[in-house]
Symmetry: C2
Subunit: 346 residues, 2 copies
């Protein structure tokens, strides 16, 4: 591997600067992405085309000069692999034709196996070949709760009240749904590792609609099951967005790192989370600001996290209307600022 | 006033039980509401019909036997009063035809005056008459940031990234927008008090897309301006939803009470917020659960808040598909549990 910065942080080796990658770095901010995207008829077909997915995965490495690639995919393909197809509707988000609201519904789903998502494994192999060991490749899946939220609701939601209804009304059904997703996700991520990914990130995008008790009961144990099943084969990151209520228990995850959203800026986090590498956590909207403001805020962020045991990133994915030049400026600021730090502190 | 429980809590007088009201208690969970609603052609017209608004305001007092009424209205009418009309589209939410994204856009708006929202003052007077001093009446407005979020974005949003863009790109424009909304809201709430409301609640529904620095800069000061302008004429409640990052500074609000969303269940809150009455904070989805679970969770909530200096409520508004019998059960549990507590602890 030529650029080992990310892996060095996971291995607690000394680094010359802070590694940086960005959630949704492959995507609509790049004109090259739009060109590739136009070759597929719809978003789900796009994600399921190994050559196209590999192409957009490598684009940000070439264009943004980033320290890791993340395989281009969608968190919901695991639901499709279990037997629940969906569409992504422009400006509306995902729509599932069938929803999972009973044991009968659940029984129609199967535990996803290699053949159900072989396109992704193929995309990983092509990407690894095209990256040619320039930077590590990150694989990912959503946390089981987040997948449950979508397949019960049948779409996005501000409250995910229908999914939460099952947690309150029929916890046994919830446990069954979550276990089937967990078993599928373990296969899915282990196969991604076999296909060549160097790091795994688990996205719990809808952690924030729960609270401490619900999270501890219905999300944390399933993420933990997955982490155990991956057996430290590669470094792992858990990103539980808006789970401020669970920060005090982030130590309990056996992942190497935790992702932090942009609302977590209290120093107290360092007293609560003592055994984790931090990843994050600039507000994506910061990249709308002037270069002067970005420079100031990047410095504040690096000082806050202390440069060591730290991976610079946003606290959520890039928004589609961000200017790619501002994105590059953010990345370069992380690099230059941290190079200066390590030069004068080593 | 026959039922003075809510006002007694604000006045730190002894009470025989915990007062309880529910956000969105007037609304789609009640069949009586749907009947009244059907008399207006659309939602905005409905809100602007004093007799209909008064009717649905009183319904939950009669049906749910609740300790306060809250005037039926919509947080966005203040934008309409400033010259920015909107519609509520079924299953989509509010849509503004024009958006406020420049000084030029802002100049077209005026500071709202009595005549711009006289229908609400009329509704308050009818309601007060119909309530006949049975329970206090709560008036409300949104926090200026929440109104800004909607009028810049032009609709609801998961991220409110267009509104946040202005905070990062053009803070002077943001301050101007927020000040015009603040000046309008001060008129609006002072007129509500003159018309007869007994308590004011300020809803900062989209606090949670900000972070500590943004909140302190762009939301807190404007809420505080409003609170000062109301000059303690009636008790006040600030409900900053998902503002977990600002809890440590809730003391700085000069309101009498703070509303808490359902994610705030850490005992640490009592060390951070020492000078406020608490209001909240059951997860609305709890009301989907069995009576047994509701009973257990109500007990947990009352024990957590300690019964005194406390107003029972949800941590967000009621969801439209909740069963009215479960809602009644929740209310009765708060009453019975707290009566037992005060009998054995006084």
């Amino acid at each position: 591997m030529k650029n080992t910065l990310l892996l060095d942080v996971f291995n607690h080796k000394p680094v010359s600067r802070v590694p940086v990658w960005l959630m949704r770095q492959a995507g609509r901010i790049l004109t090259q992405y739009k060109q590739t995207r136009s070759k597929a008829t719809n978003f789900v077909e796009f994600v399921k085309s190994p050559n196209l997915a590999a192409e957009v995965t490598v684009q940000p490495v070439d264009i943004l000069n980033i320290d890791a690639a993340i395989i281009f995919s969608d968190i919901l393909v695991i639901a499709e692999a279990m037997g629940l197809p969906y569409q992504i509707i422009e400006e509306k988000g995902p729509i599932f034709q069938n929803k999972i609201r009973s044991e009968h519904d659940l029984n129609k789903l199967h535990i996803a196996q290699t053949e159900d998502y072989s396109y992704l494994l193929e995309a990983i192999k092509i990407t690894k070949n095209n990256l040619n060991n320039r930077v590590p490749l990150i694989g990912f899946a959503a946390a089981p709760w987040t997948i449950m939220a979508y397949i019960v609701e049948g779409s996005g939601s501000k409250t995910f009240s229908q999914a939460k209804k099952i947690l309150y009304q029929n916890s046994n059904l919830a446990y069954q749904i979550l276990q089937k997703i967990t078993d599928s996700t373990i296969n899915y991520l282990n196969d991604q590792i076999t296909a060549g990914v160097d790091v795994i990130q688990i996205f719990d995008s809808w952690a924030g609609v729960l609270n401490y008790d619900l999270y501890k009961n219905f999300s944390y144990p399933y993420i933990q099951q997955i982490l155990k099943a991956l057996n430290n084969k590669v470094p792992t990151i858990v990103f539980a967005k808006d789970a401020h209520f669970f920060v005090k228990d982030f130590n309990m995850f056996t992942s190497n790192a935790v992702g932090l959203d942009w609302t977590l800026t209290d120093k107290n986090i360092f007293n609560q989370v003592t055994n984790k590498i931090f990843q994050g956590n600039a507000d994506p909207c910061l990249l709308y600001a002037s270069e002067k403001t970005i420079k100031l805020e990047v410095n504040k962020m690096l000082q806050f996290f202390g440069y060591k045991n730290y991976i610079a990133n946003l606290g959520h994915g890039l928004y589609p209307d961000l200017d790619v030049e501002k994105v590059k400026f953010f990345i370069n600021e992380v690099k230059e600022n941290s190079i200066t730090y390590f030069k004068s502190n080593n």
